[in-house]
């Protein structure tokens, strides 16, 4: 009954979240002023560079002729603006900041193919196949990439450190994870990582992963895009620029707007520059936007933008469809469930530790950013010392998971709904020696099936995700009764934050 209350509450939360997601438009309405952000930065750089106002004038005049900014701001078409504004965050489905599925407290039934490029953090509550829940805090990271970051100090620059060195490239495919069990921590609040709370560690090696658009494998695709669609876009931009310049009033207009911007006090650029640029764009709209010749060129230009994005999206779709193959090793220190209902029948012997090797295969479908992804895991677990009947192999598992991105929730982000199923064959007693549950000696080998639905809700622009999962098991490892439970957690992909901290 305890579980049924939790399940009801979580079902309500899940239903509300899915309903909210489905009720939203597929693209949130972007703010027009966001179109000016990059140009404000470029203008500020031009204005604060050494030199006189006369020396800065050519730069300011040129920046005022960046028509993409005007099209982004003034276009009546929200979808075009949304395309030009994009998103300042990562939304890859294939990262796993949380614990591996063999760790108590994990909310993931399947392991994903990629780890955070730099560092990830997860705090999860639950337990998927065990009888009792666990609370796990997990740190995941990539040692080689962390060193590259320390050497360069910028996210973009760090990717380039050792990019041509095969040793660095091989090492950067290796990531690590360490988990601590918060339930056994003696700290009054939070967790105090120590040998007492250590619950497991993992190492993941990406055998095959070309999902990053920066991968050298895609260089020829990008060169081809620039040479074809890129040139066509530049041509349509040339035509639009020529149409604007044919209006004899434009030079005077640029000069007057440059005068205003050059006259701004240096110490208040942060406050006044965005307003000055927005006023310039509004002034352009009043003076030139509705000129028939410009409107005709604008129509061709926006068609050129859409054509370019469509061509580029085909390249991204090809990248996203490529498979990921990962090999994962995890070590889990076994401990008795904390509720004291399970006891060892031979208290003088300790529980053996567990080692698991998992092969992860991941494949994306067609359909761009919102295409689903399929993940398959095959794994085997063995004991660090023979079990009570002499066997070493604890279990074999096969897991299949489908991740489906939902519609974007305005001001929140893109939630993901996952469906997964696992077949687990327990070949030995789950804890490696005979145990008693509520005083009754049990021996549980055999097969079990586990099914999970998980909703991962992002917290906008923060790298934080909140996974909420429901898991049904045909039995648990210790109890031969069906079990339904809810799991919640919070994961944090530091890559998103670090990418913004330049």
């Amino acid at each position: 009954m305890k579980h049924s209350y939790q399940i009801s509450f979580l079902l309500v939360v899940l239903t509300l979240c899915v309903s909210l997601a489905l009720a939203q438009d597929s693209t949130s309405t972007p703010a027009r002023s966001d179109c000016l952000k990059g140009t404000v930065t470029d203008l500020r750089n031009a204005l604060t560079a050494p030199g006189t106002a006369d020396e800065k004038r050519p730069h300011v005049s040129n920046i005022l002729r960046r028509w993409f900014v005007y099209v982004c701001y003034l276009s009546p078409v929200d979808t075009l603006r949304a395309q030009l504004l994009g998103k300042a965050e990562e939304k890859r489905l294939d990262k796993q900041p949380g614990a591996n599925n063999s760790t108590a407290g994990s909310t993931s039934l399947a392991n994903k193919g990629s780890s955070p490029w730099l560092l990830g953090f997860a705090l999860e509550h639950g337990g998927l196949t065990q009888t009792t829940d666990g609370n796990t805090i997990t740190f995941r990271g990539n040692l080689a990439n962390s060193i590259r970051t320390l050497l360069n100090s910028t996210y973009l620059g760090s990717y380039q450190v050792g990019i041509n060195d095969p040793v660095v490239q091989s090492l950067s495919r290796l990531s690590f994870g360490v988990s601590f069990n918060t339930a056994t921590s003696s700290a009054p609040q939070g967790v105090s990582p120590s040998t007492n709370t250590f619950s497991g560690a993992s190492a993941t090696y990406e055998l095959y992963n070309h999902r990053d658009p920066r991968d050298k494998r895609w260089s020829s695709k990008w060169d081809q895009l620039s040479a074809t669609a890129g040139t066509e876009l530049a041509q349509s931009y040339t035509h639009f620029d020529a149409a604007v310049r044919r209006d004899t009033r434009i030079n005077d207009w640029v000069k007057s707007q440059a005068d205003v911007i050059l006259a701004l006090p240096q110490d208040s650029l942060d406050q006044q520059l965005p307003t000055a640029l927005e006023n310039a764009v509004k002034s352009f709209a009043e003076e030139f936007w509705n000129v028939p010749e410009l409107q005709k060129s604008l129509s061709d230009f926006t068609a050129g933008i859409s054509q370019y994005i469509q061509t580029e999206d085909a390249v991204f779709a090809e990248i996203k469809r490529t498979p990921i193959v990962t090999l994962d090793y995890s070590f889990v220190r076994q401990s008795l469930p904390s509720n004291q209902t399970v006891t060892l029948t031979q208290p003088s012997t300790s529980l053996p530790d567990l080692s698991t090797v998992t092969l992860v295969l991941e494949k994306g479908f067609s359909g761009g950013a919102k295409a689903p992804e399929l993940t398959f895991n095959a794994s085997g677990t063995w004991f660090s010392k023979p079990a009570s009947d002499g066997g070493r192999v604890r279990d074999a598992r096969a897991t299949l998971q489908l991740d489906v991105p939902l519609k974007e929730i305005q001001n929140i982000g893109l939630p993901t709904l996952s469906f997964s199923g696992q077949f687990l064959s327990l070949l030995e007693e789950p804890l490696g020696q005979k145990v008693a549950l509520n005083g009754v000696t049990i021996s549980r080998t055999g097969n079990m099936g586990v099914f999970q639905t998980k909703l991962s809700i992002p917290v906008k622009d923060s790298g934080v995700k909140i996974p909420i999962a429901f898991t049904y098991a045909s039995r648990t490892e210790l109890v031969k009764e069906k079990d339904v439970r809810g799991n919640v957690g919070i994961t944090f992909d530091l890559d998103s934050l670090f990418a913004k901290a330049k």
């Binding site: 876009l233 040339t238 991204f316």
Partner: protein
């Protein structure tokens, strides 16, 4: 090569003007459209981050030529971009003078037309 207060340029007859585009990240997705020059080299990619094109001005005084360069910050089909990313366009004249422009997102696509007149 000299830059005018209007932001347009003046080149000497038959001066070689080199346009170099460098992206902080990679790949360098830049497109070129150079019109009415005496000649232009194909776009070359010295590395993953940069692209270069050189055009030769005509020998006709007062003739005008243009070069539009567009830059692309999109990292996936959702339009994800890195806010710290940047393109730098450097224009160098073979007979002296250089000019540098920077492009920061958003928007995730941007461009500039550079206009040259022969002295």
């Amino acid at each position: 090569m000299k830059v005018q207060p209007t932001g347009d340029f003046v080149a000497e007859p038959q001066e070689n003007i080199t346009f170099s585009v460098t992206r902080k990240g990679s790949p360098c997705n830049a497109g070129f459209d150079c019109q009415k020059w005496q000649s232009c080299t194909p776009v070359t990619s010295p590395d993953l981050h940069s692209k270069t094109k050189t055009c030769t001005a005509t020998s006709v005084s007062g003739s005008q030529s243009t070069c539009s360069i567009n830059v692309d910050f999109r990292n996936d089909s959702a339009g994800t971009y890195d806010p710290g990313d940047q393109y730098t366009v450097t224009i160098t004249g073979s007979k002296g003078g250089s000019y540098t422009d920077t492009f920061t997102p958003p928007p995730t696509l941007s461009a500039q037309t550079y206009v040259f007149s022969v002295e």
